[in-house]
Subunit: 216 residues, 8 copies
């Protein structure tokens, strides 16, 4: 596991990350929400109790990368993370499908990439540990589904940024695709976006594996 | 993993198992409670999505082995399990410490063993998969703590029964002891009995490992 | 409009029909739920106030055609309907995707057709007005989506039964397909099954048009 | 339908318009309240899905034209409407009957006309689409009922303003009168002012018809 | 005041009488509801504290004379009243206007008179004190209002029964008419049926005056 | 009745006056609380509907004359009363018995008189109608009860002030004494301070009689 | 302390005893209510932890000795007490003052004595420990207060019964009189019947002292 | 008892002191919380009603000595105490065990002593009555329990400060140790920190005894 003892890990994102975490900063028993961030914490403390890794959950429901920028100072920079994981894009894309009469609520690819790049550029150099960029995903196997196709475009952008900033890249879509071959998406969530405990475990596994977690 | 495709797994116990599961029978998304049973389900579906293992949570808060016997017919037998996991004893012991003026609420070792043995004897032969007996535990490293010492006695009984009935034996106390060397029990729960998400992960790991779960 | 003055119209189905209607029998202001049944009532009273058509909403969340049979006596027969509309099948299909570990919860095509046919056969002759069979639907344009494909099979069955029993046939899937060309399904509901006010209007329009409602 | 693709339609008024809409600005699924504004949105999206008409509900319970003036800037002007519909007067009149000891709460005809005229004069020129003025109404057929007579006076004022500002004029009182011949007002609401789903459909029909909605 | 010391007075009716009284039998502080029955009790105890008159409120919301018959045994007979006041008819009439699609909910004049007569005939002889029949009312001055006209018909029936059974007759409609000349009905209630504290005082005054209450 | 048409009557005091009135200023249906002020309003509108007397309830729970002074400007002066009724003193006295360890919460006679006098002096000249001073009371007949004796001292002060400022004087203690001869105080309230509906009627009767209300 | 190790003590009475205890039988942490019974338990466990005295609280709000008889079997006899404390009479007396129109709710002295005597006669012989009869009380020093005078009559009856059945007699009235010389009753409760934490301590002290509790 | 008549006693601490007291300053019936402070008040008023000792509860959940310093001005100094009791340290220690990943939340011994000393030094000279320093405690008999050992270190610091500032020293750990010999800690609280009514009595007894309370 590449995460050092006593490391501070900040996880930022939208509702998939938030999952009811405490406000303004979520940490500790009961403060991490009930999603993949809490699952990550459970696995880390259970497998690596001596590491005393400290996780902060600053995911917020409904947020796009624009919203992340608004609060980056208090929710990322001021927490002085050693490791930073980011997963954003679900709402940036979804608004293009569920709020077609309110186009200003969505964030199109160019703006998405520009803001995301700017945020990372300012933060990546400060991280003693590392940066983890997680692609947004859509629990849909057929790539010709309009929202799946769109989400993939954003995944490509995240991959590009990860390469540019030498971040750990987590392809969540790929991780889910593997499971979706055997498990219908409805077993995780009817809306193909939010995650139940099964989805949280799949995602936590992908993220931890990417930073060297040794399971056996 | 020794658990076959489509297997029915019934998990019975007390509040540590219950953790808010749906009544009368808890299963599916939202029905498994938020404890180690739901963690087990998450890990199984995430690592082995094709197995379609079906878990039933029939843990009930406050129960001793006497209470389990009362409802064994509807909560175990009628569900026709292939696999059955049992973890009971916490309340049988705790009542000897927190309700000293109401001695009839506790279950002493002899009665505990007698009832437990009787229940297993009737069910073990019917299980196509297997029987998993999990010791009760106390999140306390010092073996001279009265309640820890007492709990160990019950663990010895469980071990004896597991051998007798050729069950899979899970020493939960040992699993927790390993972690408690590096993590104070207060990080899991102030009362050293109930489990938060960290405790749930430790226990789920122990149970799944015991039935052949391959993590890597 | 083929529905006579003072006619009694019973609408039965699942949650799409139910939409919070009063129990045990929903009717009148506040009793019809907030879904397509209430929309139908609003349009009928507004366009045809003299008809005094009386609507009963007996949709119930989560129901399959098996559940409908259980309560057919009290919820249909005892109400002595002149007109009966039925829309069922969403749960019969959905359980095959969101509860794969609990196969007994779904209703497969043969059983679906058998029970449905039996129910209609007993009731159709008693209806002075008419019988309206509405196909179940899935808000998904791509017919190779597994759940869309499955739902279509059930639609074919409904069509067959409508012909057999000389019922008014409402192809809800077709009605939605028309709108989905211009409006993403997420504008109606993230889960592609439930209906918001827009979906309720689309469906009410289809049903009323099929019984001769004159809009202009 | 005279409303162009992507048009922004702002609907302002009192509780009949408000009907529980989201604050500060109500729009989208769940944000439009459960009254005639939501019914209009449902019908527009169902019949004209390609138009992507965007509706804002800024009705507020208890408001008179005086209250509308207080918030006109944020609730109308700042939203840059293409179309604006206004229905106000119910409270202006009602306070003359239900709060006779607090006369300052009512708005008498001269002040009503003066404020209303001033508001429209400032806004009408900015509307790319059109202005729709809806008369207040009272669900009472007998014109010698004091409150009905009073309401009619305000209706005359609205008509005058509509002519002056070349607005689309919707005579809601007339629309309701037609239905009230066959349906007692108590079927819509005991207080003859608020609307249930039936009343909402009658009013939505009148407004949409006035802007060229083609029903057939 | 004709009501003797220690007399038991039972008041039965619908929601106007009920006004939130305690169930199954309402009496004492907090048990009489907040309507005219509680006002009567307040005035009796304040003006005639030595009389110790005991009032039971058995009004129930939504009831027609049919409903009264259903519970007459427990709610009137078993209480062994010395005085019995009855006010019913509001719902018998109202259902003819607000539930036109559910005609079985209303009680037409002939049935109203028949049931009412039967109930009184059985009880009047047993009352040591007296019987008080209060007409139902509608807070509407214009006698050509359909519901006012209808209510008057029922008032005529009540008067006929009062004469027949030598009961004290209270013309509530007349009492309200006096006040409505100076106070719009909206000052009492928007629906012209229910009573606020002002209406309760008007009615209590009428009933008490009719049994000899001396105000000065 | 000395209160002119359209008169504005402000009633100020403590919880006996407050009785749940609307804040910041209580008036109208539902705004007057459920105590003697609402009873006064009910009787005035019922007996004198043409007077259109307007009542404001600004009683506040727990208040002493010191608290009244704090809010006199907004709660009395700014309302421009024609008539002002004041009943205060219950808490000034009670705190001397129920909070003996917190003496600063009580208001002793000299301070009570000084503040009260100052408030009236500033307001009485502005009242077009009149000033009504109501003594505080204690529902206790025995004058040697310490709290009753104390309350009487404050009653003497109120009488003195009424004479000085030519106010209408209402001896509430006397009014209650009359009733208490026949009705134990526990029939009004266990604590002998607060009033139920019976107490409210006694007090309203006393106040209205004092301003010329003609009951017969 | 005369109460032996492991003794079972049942405390029965009305709301003063009940104080929110668990139902049907109140015991243990959180089950004893928040009144004098819990205070007794706290003092016993704190001063005599080795005694392990087991207390059951079966007080029930509103009960008279008639109500106690109704449930004596389940609430006293079936619990097999070693010690039984009884305090009843407050409601038997109070109803004679706060419900004068419902005389059947009170229990007059003869009936009170008869029932009380009968209950004790059947139980006293079965108590291995002892019987404790506590007088009802009224927090009022003046013996000419009607309710105080009445309560004293019942105290005399309790004393007579205590002598007859050789019970421990606790004169609660006397215990409170001592404190009331220095502390107004309003410091304990406005209604002079219920007890706050101060009253609970006074009563617990009296009861425990009577059974030999050594404080120093 | 060394506490003089009318003395003002301020009790400050953490949740063990707080126990739900009223905010911002807790005093009087219902304002002292339900813990040892309320028990102290009950015993003082019951045994010494003439003293009229006035207690203020300013304990606040979760507080360390650092938090006490933040609010010392408003919560201690401004209340002008004659007596001040302080019990703090539970959270200062506990955070070292239950929040090991958030070390800044704990207060280590040196800082604890420094802040504590500074606070007392400023206040002790102003107390006309006295200063009472209560050691923090852990309901655990075995001194080799890490948290018990840690707590003892803080107890030593408190003792040192008590000597330095001539304060009354209350060794709560010792008081509890005596009881724990006969009563398992689980009878007081599962977490060995918080107190139920039994623990509150033990602690109140220790504090009052230390200031000269005479029990017999």
């Amino acid at each position: 596991l590449r995460v050092a003892q006593g490391a501070r890990w900040v996880a930022i994102g939208d509702s998939i990350t938030d999952a009811g975490r405490a406000k303004p900063i979520g940490e500790g028993t009961n403060g991490l929400g009930t999603g993949y961030v809490q699952t990550m914490d459970a696995l880390l403390q259970a497998w690596y109790p001596g590491r005393r890794i400290r996780i902060f959950n600053v995911g917020t429901s409904g947020h796009t990368v624009r919203d992340l920028k608004e609060r980056w100072q208090t929710d990322v920079t001021d927490l002085k993370p050693d490791w930073l994981s980011v997963m954003v894009g679900a709402n940036d894309v979804w608004r293009q499908f569920d709020r077609v009469t309110q186009p200003e609520r969505a964030v199109l690819p160019d703006e998405y990439e520009r803001i995301y790049d700017e945020l990372i550029a300012g933060t990546a150099p400060t991280l003693k540990g590392g940066l983890v960029l997680i692609t947004p995903f859509f629990l849909e196997l057929r790539t010709d589904d309009p929202m799946r196709a769109r989400m993939d475009e954003y995944g490509v952008i995240v991959k590009r940024l990860a390469t540019k900033h030498k971040a750990v890249f987590v392809d969540s879509q790929a991780a889910f695709n593997v499971v979706l071959k055997d498990l219908p998406s409805a077993m995780i969530n009817w809306d193909r976006v939010h995650l139940n405990h099964i989805g949280a475990a799949i995602l936590a596994r992908a993220v931890l594996t990417a930073v060297g977690f040794e399971w056996a």
